[in-house]
Symmetry: C2
Subunit: 261 residues, 2 copies
């Protein structure tokens, strides 16, 4: 990050990216001085980089002087495979599940030790959930996360089991119990949670298993559904096959995309 | 764009952004040499910038050597108001309309002379449409576009009327007829199209009109629905009030957001 020297370009690009780093879900609108402070650079440097990033359309200055992420970056983000390949292929299937159940349906992929929510279909009558598109939640505390963790490389599982964070009083933080549950997920092909991330909400999730000609199958994503706890006992078991049908449909479509061919 | 001189930083940031410019919907996966060619820079420069952009997560290098847009940019793009404020607020209402009709529902905003599609809900049984999230289509050729054009500043209308592009043999390219139609959209509060963008598809759209305490109302977006042409006569008239109810719901929620308060 140090400036100048033999690679002036490197540090300048890094600084521009550090300006973008100042923005996150908790800080979507920032003033010049907030950006300078959050990215640790002088006001004058931040001001110059903001002018360039705004000219290109990465950021937009609002009438109140605060900067927000611009449509140009939104556009570019839509080209990411997670959106252009996975989300677009899966979206009609999520809609099918929602139409049949009226509950909140999620699609997630693993991102490090988190489940990254790629899509969500949620009506206004569905149970309120904390996740939204782009959210990251700890793998061990959510249904889609347990599915993704059960399919993750051993070193990822070890990392999570070392210190599973407590999200509610129901989060499973005992490594032995969690490991047993992951084995059960691998055996049964479905994961359940009950108030482990949000009180009042229970979930079930299944993997999207993509077959690649000859090569081993890949868990490309997890598909899950969230219901109010009082309906969990009655509804979650019957929702597993609903999710499995949709997950197979998604997997079939994905197998045809560039990523898996 | 010229390098070095008094503002070395400016040109370096510009070059990094030019690397990103190489990617678009028709070119989502590019090799190093394609990127260098499309951004008009030497291979060595492109290589160095790609390394920095990849280290940050803006781009990802696939096993086959091609670069794609990374999750980090997707993430950042989700913070854009068009997504974080508009799409998120509107999404359940689009779902309501789709659930009631089973047809493809669109939400779009004006971006220059185009309608930018911000959200779409489309089942697998809906009529196939060319637009997807992030698509831009000419304002005068689509239902949501006519609604947005009818509310646009006079200079935008003039620009479009100067040379409306022909998309199908049914696209209205006569400026006088188009101007008359825009007046009718303003009067009736709804726009219709019939095979003007895609053969076999008809549409109707309404504005999302946001009231701001004291200030003039703003057309923040347009909400539209697409049906097969053979159902247009029977279905489009009864779909207008369905869209209007949803549009009012969206407008009410938007009026509470930071953008309009």
């Amino acid at each position: 990050m140090a400036g100048g020297g033999a690679h002036p370009g490197r540090s300048v690009t890094s600084r521009a990216l550090r300006v973008l780093d100042a923005f996150d879900a908790d800080h979507p609108r920032l003033t010049l001085s907030e950006i300078a402070e959050r990215s640790g650079m002088p006001l004058t440097t931040a001001h110059r980089l903001l002018a360039e990033l705004s000219a290109w359309g990465a950021l937009v200055r609002r009438p109140d002087g605060r900067y927000v992420v611009g449509r140009r970056l939104w556009d570019l983000g839509l080209l990411a495979p997670v959106q252009a390949e996975l989300r677009q292929v899966a979206s009609p299937f999520l809609l099918d599940v929602h139409t049949a159940t009226r509950d909140t349906v999620h699609l997630a992929v693993r991102d490090g030790l988190d489940a990254l929510y790629v899509d969500r279909v949620s009506g206004r009558e569905s149970v309120p959930v904390v996740s939204q598109v782009g959210s990251r939640l700890p793998l061990h505390a959510v249904g889609v996360g347990k599915v993704l963790l059960a399919a993750a490389p051993p070193e990822v599982v070890e990392d999570v089991l070392r210190a599973p964070s407590r999200q509610t009083r129901h989060t499973i933080v005992d490594p032995v119990r969690l490991a047993r549950e992951l084995a059960e997920v691998r055996r049964s092909g479905a994961a359940r949670t009950s108030e482990e991330m949000s009180l009042g909400a229970a979930s079930v999730a299944v993997p999207v298993v993509v077959a690649r000609g000859g090569a081993p199958t890949v868990v490309a994503a997890a598909l899950g559904i969230v219901v109010p706890t009082h309906r969990a006992e009655r509804d979650l078991p019957r929702l597993v096959p609903v999710l499995q049908v949709a997950a197979r449909g998604i997997a079939r479509e994905l197998a045809r995309t560039d990523e898996f061919r």
